[in-house]
Amino acid sequence: MSRLSETFEQGAINPMITFQIDNQTVEAKPGWTVLETAKHYGFEIPTLCHHEAVTPSGACRLCMVELREGDWSKLVASCIYPVADGINVFTDTERVRNVRRWILEMLLSECPASKHIQDIAARHGVSRTRFPVENPEEQCMLCGLCTRVCEEVVGLAAISTVDRGIHKKIGAPFLRPSEVCVACGCCVTICPTDAMQSRIDSIRRVSATQLAAKTSW
């Protein structure tokens, strides 16, 4: 079922949802996320793993916002948090800024070589990390945009995450050139950190037979 008819059907039952972002009243339709609504109304929330072309996954947590109700408040990832009546969203409170700085510090330790992440971190006043840096050359933050675009947009699954935990990385199965890959370059274009640029040459396939010769046994 398409997103549109879903929206229609729910919209028929529910009228518009009204809530507040940074004390400003906004209207949304059921099914929208907080991030979408905020972007539509011109509130800027920093994102890394979010791209309009693919379904949001809430991987990087940079888009955290604060939901307040009286004295009580909680932090949510706005890219996957659906809108609801009467919620109070705050995009730039001390608590939000604090958690973003933590996330950026962690990202700086995970992929210290990424220029883009360094820039975002600098904008948030983070220039160094307290966490150990495993690989100073690493650019990939494992946000999974590349694997999502390959699956959802291109319709293939040439790349995926390989291994688990701290060994997790992005690549074609067995880290060999993929026969499935059609070399469309979507993963390179979508990658927020340029990590895919240095990886794609080991993924896009060489000629089919060369590959078969390499992988047949």
């Binding site: 398409s2 997103r3 549109l4 008819s5 929206t7 949304a28 339709k29 099914g31 929208w32 996320t33 979408e36 609504t37 972007k39 539509h40 109304y41 011109g42 800027e44 791209h51 309009e52 072309a53 675009v149 959802e152 947009v153 291109v154 319709g155 293939l156 026969e179 059609v182 070399a183 469309c184 370059g185 979507c186 390179v188 274009t189 979508i190 340029d194 640029q197 794609i200 040459d201 000629s207 089919a208 037979t209 060369q210 078969a212 010769a213 047949s216 046994w217």
Partner: protein
């Protein structure tokens, strides 16, 4: 069919990524004044739910039937728009995207106002293309009829079993012959596979008992005609008659042949044999107390990739030797580079059976002598003699003879190496209706019996899935595929020779002069064939030459005196530009990028149109050589660029105004170099003066390359065909051909200009007047005029003893 075109343009603000860089209000102002645009609006994010809802409302309220979204990369975003607006009857092809963010907002240091102007040019061109689009209806294919399992390979049985289980009728094609002799023949293709025989027997029984099975008498495949859902296969029978069978789908099960290696290995068929002959040797002579040496000689014979496969066969045979004849010895000799392909359990078994695995020094080639073979020992670097009574060599694997012929008829190309490849489209899955012709067995790539059988199951399952889709009415024909106009097609068959996807065939039988037909489920929509057709009988639906020409023309007419158009292919030039934009690399703002699915689908008419409509230069940005995704489109583009270069020279213009370049998606820096240097070259040459003479020449050039069947035919035969594995450029007498081609071109160009002059003047003209107006040699003009009179293109009359000519 929508006759009334209403295009809506939605411009994305994209937060802070577009809005501050481009004066969007000015841009929207320019765009909304365009005659092709019915509605223009700026949205914060057209690509998120709020934006979708707004666009949906507008589509319904304004009855829009085309969309142009000016935002970011269409490669990433277009699919989401297509999915979302499909229920609104906006099908693929009716939505297009302009990468405002990557190509306009980033990538240059223009002012926001200048950027707005630059962006408006691209959007207006896209709107012009939308106006020229005549969308086709959404077609479906229905499969009805039996499946033909052809080729007689071992995988036939598993494919048949799978089909029987899925409840589909099938025909087992003639090659198989008597199913009783199956096991007597199997070891010739798959040596040492006794362990699979019981399983094969069960499968065969199940298949033969199935009421779905139709066992055909033996015969050779002669011809294949028709398209998916309606195939006609002609067989020549043993009795000399021909029979035609109809099938809805085809599964090819082909096995590679195993032949003795070259003579330096001492093969004699007596005591030095190959693995497929082992069964017969044992049956005839027996082994008893012999020393049997299995030499895995694949490395020495030049096909190391099959060493492990041969080693597994050798292992099965050695096991049988030791188990059946305990007094005999079994030795497996192998090159040290090979890894032993045994599991831990098999290794133990091998040890218990006393089978010797002997690696030898790769630098010392084993020498075979009477009764001994000399090999280099790895440990002490000494050469040892190993005695043998029976030497068993690895076979040489190749597709040959009858199998090869069948494969050729089925269009399973032989492109790389010795084995068959089913066509593997190098495009997004949504671009093709179904996968290639299912091919199973060792002819695809050498494999063991287990693997071949698994491939058979897979082919059967995939075919059954197709039928299931068809039953549910969900087997859609992709929107962008070629179709042939049978009235225009002369049956020259050039398209079929060029087509790489195997989507072009004939309706009936073989022979010349038959109209071609496109299988819409196989066509990848590359359109290189459509651009090549001398008679324009092939049309790439929803992505036609007319559309492309409208867009290129609309863009060209907006070009300033030193601005150029770059046509970037969707796999090379466009992604490189997208990535350059993403990285914020600056390049010459005089370059205006227009995306095309493949540079090979650009009809020469489009290239000529760009100059006719006022662009001083045109750059084609294709993929890297040998990396084209559509039938060597980049090579085809080269030939067409060459044609335009010749014509530009004949018109008196600089031939450097058009160029072909190669772009790699991952090398945006090089893309920047390419476009900058082209912009500088054309900038230095300057514009083409808009004098009546120049315009008339450009018109003739456009007319010639678009409609002159002789030149289009000559061009088409020079295009790289799909069986040419590498474009060497050392074609025989290449220069002679080029001279002949130029001569033909000069002749036809003159004729086109003459005809055009006579048509515009609309009055009888004298030879002198004609040659003066064209500024050409009087005798040459006369010569062409006589022949045109003869052909009836021009009428001649006489007045005062002087000939007068008028267009026919």
């Amino acid at each position: 069919m929508q006759t009334n075109t209403k295009t809506g343009v939605f411009i994305c603000r994209c937060g802070e990524k577009i809005a501050p860089f481009i004066d969007l209000e000015a841009l929207a102002g320019i765009v909304s004044r365009d005659a092709n645009v019915a509605h223009c609006e700026i949205l914060p994010y057209p690509c998120l739910n709020p934006g979708f809802d707004r666009i949906t409302e507008t589509i319904s309220s304004k009855k829009l039937n085309r969309l142009v979204i000016a935002g970011c990369e269409g490669r990433l975003m277009l699919k989401k728009f297509e999915k979302t607006f499909e229920p609104m009857e906006l099908l693929k092809g009716q939505i297009d995207m302009i990468n405002l963010r990557g190509h306009i907002a980033a990538g240059n240091d223009l002012s926001p106002e200048k950027r707005a102007e630059k962006g408006a040019k691209l959007i207006k061109a896209a709107a012009a293309e939308m106006a020229a689009l005549a969308p086709t209806i959404q077609k479906r294919t229905f499969l009805d009829g039996p499946v033909m399992i052809i080729g007689g390979g071992a995988a036939s049985w598993t494919a048949a079993q799978e089909l029987a289980r899925q409840g589909l009728d099938f025909m087992l094609a003639p090659d198989i012959g008597d199913p009783e002799i199956l096991f007597e023949e199997l070891h010739r293709q798959y040596p040492g596979e006794w362990k699979n025989y019981p399983r094969m027997k069960k499968i065969r029984q199940e298949v033969l008992q199935s009421h779905r099975c139709n066992m055909l008498p033996a015969g050779d495949l002669l011809n294949l005609a028709g398209i998916t859902g309606d195939y006609k296969l002609t067989f020549s029978m043993a009795d000399g008659n021909q029979r035609v069978y109809k099938a809805a789908a085809i599964i090819a099960c082909l096995d590679a042949g195993l032949e003795p290696p070259t003579e330096e290995f001492g093969y004699d068929g007596q005591s030095v044999i190959i693995q497929p002959e082992f069964d017969e040797y044992v049956a005839e002579k027996g082994i008893f107390e012999d020393q049997v040496v299995f030499w895995v000689n694949d490395y020495e014979a030049g096909y190391p990739e099959f060493a492990q496969l041969s080693a597994l066969s050798a292992w099965a045979m050695a096991k049988r030797v030791r188990e059946s004849y305990p007094k005999s010895q079994a030795v497996i000799l192998y090159n040290e580079q090979m890894e032993i392909p045994l599991t831990g359990r098999d290794r133990t078994l091998s040890r218990n059976l006393g089978i010797f695995w002997v690696p030898y020094d790769k630098t010392i080639r084993p020498t075979i002598q009477e009764g001994f073979i000399t090999v280099g020992n790895l440990n002490d670097h000494m050469e040892y003699d190993i005695p043998w009574d029976l030497m068993v060599l690895s076979p040489e694997r190749a597709v040959s003879g009858r199998t090869r012929k069948t494969a050729e008829i089925l269009g399973l190309s032989h492109k790389h190496g010795r084995f068959l490849t089913g066509h593997h489209a190098w495009v997004r899955p949504e671009q093709v209706g179904r996968e290639e012709t299912y091919l199973a067995g060792s002819a695809r790539f050498p494999c063991d019996l287990h693997e071949a059988l698994a491939q058979g199951y897979r082919a059967g399952r995939k075919t059954a899935e197709l039928f299931q889709k068809s039953r549910g009415g969900e087997l859609f024909v992709p929107r962008i595929v070629c179709s042939v106009d049978p009235d225009k097609c002369v049956g020259c068959g050039l398209c079929q020779e060029l087509c790489d996807c195997g989507g072009i065939g004939v309706e009936e039988a073989t022979g010349g002069g038959l109209p071609r037909v496109v299988d819409p489920l196989i066509c990848t929509g590359g359109g290189t064939c459509a651009a090549a057709c001398p008679y324009k009988a092939l049309v790439l639906q929803n992505n036609t030459t007319d559309q492309r020409e409208a867009r290129a023309g609309a863009l060209a007419s907006q070009m300033g005196p030193d601005e150029v158009i770059a046509l970037g292919c969707a796999w090379g030039g466009l992604p490189a530009a997208d990535n350059a934009g993403k990285k914020g690399l600056f390049y010459d703002p005089r370059v205006h990028l227009m995306s095309v699915p493949c540079v090979g689908q650009l009809d020469p008419g489009i290239l000529a149109r760009v100059f006719l409509d006022g662009s001083p230069g045109l750059l084609l940005l294709g993929c890297n050589p040998e990396e084209c995704h559509h039938s060597y489109g980049v090579d085809h583009a080269w030939s067409r660029v060459n044609l335009i270069k010749k014509l530009l020279t004949m018109c008196g213009f600089d031939r450097r105004r058009i160029a072909l370049a190669h772009a790699d998606l991952n090398k945006p820096e090089e893309f920047v170099h390419t476009v900058n240097s082209f912009a500088n070259v054309v900038g230095a040459i300057g514009p083409i003066g808009k004098t009546p003479q120049n315009i008339s020449r450009l018109k003739s050039m456009h007319e010639l390359v678009s409609n002159n069947a002789r030149i289009r035919h000559l061009l088409c035969v020079t295009l790289r065909q799909n069986d040419e594995t590498e474009y060497k450029g050392n074609q025989r007498h290449a220069l002679d051909f080029d001279r002949d081609f130029s001569a033909a071109l000069r002749e036809e160009f003159l004729r086109t200009r003459l005809l055009q002059l006579l048509r515009t003047e609309k009055r009888p003209l004298k030879l002198n007047e004609l040659s003066n107006a064209l500024m050409e040699n009087r005798e040459q003009v006369g010569e062409q005029l006589w022949s045109m009179v003869y052909e009836g293109l021009v009428h001649r009359s006489h007045y005062n003893h002087e000939a007068l000519f008028i267009a026919g």
